[in-house]
Amino acid sequence: MQIVRIVEYSIAFITLYFTVFIILLYIKYRNSVSEKPRIDKKFTPRLSVIIPAFNEEDTLEHCVKSLVDADYPKEELDIIIVDDGSKDKTYAIAKLLSNRYKNVRCFTKKNEGKAAALNYAITRADGEIIATLDADSFIEKDTIWRMLPYFKDKEVAAVTAAVKVNEQKNKGKAILEFIQKIEYLFTLFSRKVLVFIEAVTVTPGPFSMFRSWVFKKVGMFDTKSILEDQEIALRIQKHNYKIRSSMDAGVYTEIPRNFNELLKQRIRWHRGGFHNTLKYLSLISPRYGDFGLIIMPLTFIAIITLFGVFFVAIANIFTQPYYFRYLGLEASLLSLTPIHIVGLIILALNVLWIAWGLLQFKKEKISAWQLIIYIISYSYLLTIYWTAAIIKEIKMEKPSW
């Protein structure tokens, strides 16, 4: 089937090209990746931290306490909790916290989603810098100090934190936990590299900071998007403002602990990402430099590539059933084409990329076995996430949290 061959070769070439490009990018900027701006404790802009909360009675207090305990002048720190119509004790806890701490305020509103809750608080925030913090996350003592220096560059509109997994008592031994831990670290590294071509595409919900005027210039969070943290980042990119990424300003976030929860989360991410990509197709343009010529097309092509891979796999199932029946495993070996060789090389390059990434986080204890399991399982997990997301899209089910 000629068309199958053409699709296979095209996918392989594009994937290989982008992999090589990103690796060359890292090689070019490798000395700058681990650079950190100097902490300046004299630079203390007023900071409003917004915590949108929906049914977060278990984690809200810990989240707020991490802010209260943060090493930052209390008089310049404004903490705003917005209860988004919770059904549990979230608002009661928020009120207790606002009574306990002078710089904590709380509000309650009807449930309209995270973006609406964030926007509600933004209109009531008075900080020069506005941060968003998920109620199931907590920051380290010096996180704020590590992020603020990026704002000394007047062209920076937003800064992202180093989002890491909140490890449970068994310290990352559970498979789903360490897979996500490695994934988060690897994503952090990839995002840092993308900074060098002004191509950061998400300001993660767990903790990100924005200059207050960003919301006036580019608009508030999109209440229709289920991935509002990516949507606003793309909007910032559309306006040609800078986004920076810190690799050492830690924020620890809750992760799904079982496969169903994980799948639900990833369906939302992938569907949201797909909708955002379609919304911002106009970013695929030389007007946006490397971001418009390489990264945005890659985001779009990755989705098409996935469909292409499905097409090839299904076509092969229908065109070659008898070989596998009579030849068994030998059919797989005989079926190897140059594309498979290229695929192995792509895999090797990806392993190299992951290894470089994890070298940035030597303090994070990751064993060789955990890394092997991650590398083997990740593509299968990704396929499951995307398959489920595509099915939901085809069925036109309403996206939800």
């Binding site: 060359l24 007047k154 403002y241 070989y323 079926s335 190897l336 594309i339 060789i341």
Partner: protein, 231 residues
């Protein structure tokens, strides 16, 4: 105080370098893939040669002893040979489907099949065996239904595997490859279009679906579409 809009840049040297490296890696992939295919074809060629030798040995045995006492030996040896021949055929087809063909090897394979067919005919007669021998003529150049016909032949055999007690053996030949053996068999059975099936010397032209094949192989349908070939 607002930030200035960021002037965008192009990493043109990186684009070019990435493109060059990609082409090189692709070239390596194609080269290694080609080497791998050559190695597989070489292995299959050895298999064809060794199977031919075994076949020739079985033929000599058959000619040396014309009694039926050696029938169990012939039948066992022939079954193994035919299984191996069929597997070689599947391997060659798989490689051919992905573009790795060796025409001379295929012609050699057809010689192997033809010898197997003739030996099976002799064993059928000598040992009173009722196996169904099917010649299948196809073309890879000019036959839309040939791929489907090949699969349907296998499907029909699978359907009949539990219901009849005789074996169905396939011998397939690409009629447009320029193989002397294939051309000779085509001439003998007046084959001029594809796909054409010859079942126990009865000719069936054009595509036959699975149901029709099942009837033919189980002896329910005696209507062939060509003249008797021994006339």
């Amino acid at each position: 105080m607002t930030s200035k809009n960021t002037p965008r840049s192009f990493s043109a040297p990186l684009y070019i370098l990435a493109f060059i490296i990609t082409i090189v890696i692709f070239g390596i992939g194609v080269y290694v893939g080609t080497l791998f295919d050559k190695s597989n074809l070489s292995r299959i060629s050895s298999d064809v040669e060794s199977t031919l030798q075994r076949l020739e040995s079985a033929q000599i045995l058959l000619f040396l002893d014309d009694s039926a006492s050696f029938c169990p030996v012939y039948k066992t040896e022939l079954e193994k040979l035919e299984r191996d021949t069929e597997l070689i055929g599947h391997r060659l087809n798989l490689l051919s489907d992905k573009g790795a063909t060796d025409i001379e090897l295929k012609k050699q394979y057809f010689v192997l099949e033809a010898q197997g067919y003739l030996l099976s005919k002799k064993v059928n007669e000598r040992c009173n065996v009722n196996d169904t021998l099917v010649l299948y003529f196809y073309s890879n150049k000019n036959c839309e239904k040939c791929a489907a016909q090949g699969e349907d032949l296998l499907r029909s055999r699978d359907q009949l595997s539990n219901s009849i007690d005789k074996r169905i053996k396939f011998y397939s030949f690409d009629g447009d490859l320029g193989s002397a053996v294939a051309d000779a068999l085509k001439q003998k059975h007046y084959v001029y279009e594809y796909p054409t099936i010859v079942v126990n010397d009865k000719v069936y032209r054009d595509y036959q679906d699975v149901d029709t094949l099942v009837k033919i192989f189980s002896g329910q349908s005696a209507i062939s579409s060509g003249p008797r070939t021994d006339g």
